[in-house]
């Protein structure tokens, strides 16, 4: 029994959740607070992964990061970041597909804080960063946590886009969902059952515990 896929999935999901939360907070704050040209386009764009088939998404990423584009060559040759057929590629696939799941609750949470409360803090002499730290985030944290958990869960289950970008290299890029698919294909029912059981228990526990935490905080 090879537990590398479990290890890789946890690693990819953790890293991708950190990136998703950071990028997602910036995007959802902008969507909730600012009026700027192209806002509608940005909104539609970050929501695309909800409706686009993961394989299509993966194909876009494969083409964008591959050696056939200037951007891909710039990433590889200048920055030394190889995304195609590496675990980092799996992270990018997970980030892109889980972003909308973070942005939706985060945006609603930021909108729920209300402009008056933030303006009150500004008028009491606080800088933008202080307002975010002492008012906006503390008031929005439930929504942000809910979004982060959903993103994490989405990242652990990511299959299509990951397969396209990172491939299925045992011991290098084979994540849990891909290993399950592999096990079923090769008739290894025992491995499939164990991995399915792990991911089921894990997913249920994460959602259940967070749900209690988010609701029962007050």
């Amino acid at each position: 029994m090879d537990f590398f896929p479990l290890y890789l999935t946890v690693k990819v999901s953790l890293v991708s959740t950190v990136i998703t939360v950071a990028v997602g907070c910036a995007v959802s704050l902008a969507l909730a607070r600012k009026v700027f040209p192209g806002k509608g386009v940005l909104d539609a764009l970050v929501m695309q992964p909800l409706v686009i088939p993961p394989t299509v998404l993966g194909y876009y990423l494969l083409v964008a990061f591959g050696r056939s584009t200037g951007f891909g060559r710039f990433l590889g040759d200048t920055l030394g970041i190889e995304l195609v057929f590496t675990w980092k590629g799996a992270v990018v696939a997970a980030v892109i597909s889980s972003l909308p799941l973070f942005i939706q609750p985060a945006r609603a949470a930021f909108e729920g804080v209300g402009a008056d409360v933030e303006n009150a803090a500004r008028l009491l002499g606080r800088t933008e960063w202080q307002v975010l730290r002492t008012i906006t985030f503390p008031l929005a944290w439930r929504g942000l946590l809910a979004g982060a958990v959903m993103s994490f869960a989405r990242a652990t289950g990511e299959f299509g886009a990951t397969l396209m970008v990172a491939g299925n290299i045992p011991g290098r890029t084979q994540t849990l969902p891909i290993a399950i698919y592999d096990a079923v294909q090769s008739g290894d029912a025992q491995s499939a059952n164990v991995l399915v059981a792990i991911i089921t228990v894990f997913s249920f526990a994460v959602i259940y515990i967070t749900g209690r935490f988010v609701r029962g905080g007050r």
Binding site: N119, R122, L123, L139
Partner: protein, 363 residues
């Protein structure tokens, strides 16, 4: 001291206001949608004016000409929001202390303690906003604002969400606090009674423009425009054409009411033929007893009419008197005993007197 002159245009609405305040409490009074809250947002920096300038104690905080636009945090403006905008994740103590930042810890504690006592919040320091009554929340909001030692105070309909009794108490509190901290204050309200009670000076705003700025007595008894007369509860507002001006007396006529004599408004030039408005408060209209001959004192401004309806209003009655050929109604407020004695009921022909000194003429 606050000097402001601001303009901003939106789709279908524009505001253009200039005001100058000393260390006083000015009431900004007007109907909803007049631009009251909008003006507060423009002064505080929540919204950016198209052009104009704002200065507090001679310090320019906004000036479109020279490009000055201080961020909200540097303006030193105390703002109490209509719904208080308390920080729901902080206790009463932390809310107030949030305003007291920049002080050393012992100074901040001292400042919070003083404000807690002043605002009668003792014992509530560890509560959260959702555990407070409306009046308590309002006091926390004011305490938090005062903790930041603002140069001016903007109060946006601070009492509108409260019960009548609570409101009365808090208005008295506010006046006491203003005596204690004589900070330049603008209080926004659409409540006539509140405006009268709190404003030593009153600015009347309508449709984004100031209609009149003056002392309480001026605005309430000598409205400068027909709109102001309407907002302050003048009910009998009629059109008149000037027939002549003789010294301080003006003679006008209205097709339904007839010839009306009144005192001319001070420093207004009205010429014969000019169109004016004149008004009289319902409680100042005098009903003349039909069995008495009119003395020469009462020869002016006698109006005949028929009562179309009578409404009980506590200790008085409101009578609507149809005068003249058209549908012009004169509203008359009489004490109940007068109505009984003179049998003033619907359908009764009635003679009233509009005393010269009770009529206010608007050029």
């Amino acid at each position: 001291m606050l000097e402001l002159s601001l303009k901003k245009a939106f789709d279908g609405f524009s505001i253009d206001v200039g005001l100058s305040l000393g260390p006083e409490l000015l009431v900004l009074f007007g109907p909803s949608g007049a631009g009251k809250s909008l003006l507060m947002k423009l002064v505080s920096g929540i919204l950016r004016p198209d052009e104009g300038s704002v200065s507090i104690d001679s310090r320019v905080i906004f000036d479109s000409a020279s490009g000055v636009d201080l961020p909200m945090r540097q303006r030193r403006i105390g703002f109490v929001f209509q719904d208080y905008a308390l920080f729901s994740h902080m206790t009463v103590r932390d809310n107030i202390a949030y305003g007291a930042h920049g002080l050393s810890a012992p100074e901040a504690r001292e400042s919070v303690a003083v404000l807690v006592t002043l605002m009668r919040l003792g014992g509530l320091e560890a509560r959260y906003p959702h555990e407070l009554s409306g009046g308590q929340r309002q006091r926390v909001a004011l305490a938090r604002t005062l903790a930041a030692r603002p140069r001016i105070l903007l109060l946006d309909e601070p009492f509108s969400a409260l019960d009548y009794q609570v409101r009365e108490k808090l208005r008295a509190d506010l006046l006491a606090i203003h005596e204690l901290f004589p900070i330049t204050t603008i209080l926004v309200t659409h409540d006539l009674e509140e405006a009268f009670m709190l404003g030593t000076r009153v600015a009347v705003i309508n449709n984004g423009r100031l209609e009149q700025v003056g002392g309480r007595e001026d605005v309430f008894y000598r409205p400068a425009t027909r709109n102001v007369a309407r907002f302050i509860g003048m009910r009998n507002i009629f059109n008149g054409v000037v027939d002549g001006v003789d010294g301080g007396t003006i003679i006008m006529h209205n097709p339904d009411i007839g010839i009306v004599t009144a005192f001319a408004p001070p420093d207004a030039r009205v010429r014969p033929g000019a169109r004016v408005s004149f008004c009289i408060r319902p409680e100042e209209v005098i009903v003349v007893r039909p069995d008495r001959a009119l003395g020469h004192m009462a020869m002016e401004n006698v109006v005949e009419g028929v009562i179309t309806s009578a409404l009980a209003k506590g200790s008085t009655h409101i009578l609507f008197l149809r005068v003249g050929a058209s549908e012009t109604l004169l509203k008359v407020e009489v004490p109940n005993f007068v109505r009984r004695k003179l049998a003033l009921a619907s359908g009764a022909a009635t003679r009233v007197l509009l005393k010269k000194e009770s009529i206010w003429v608007i050029p």
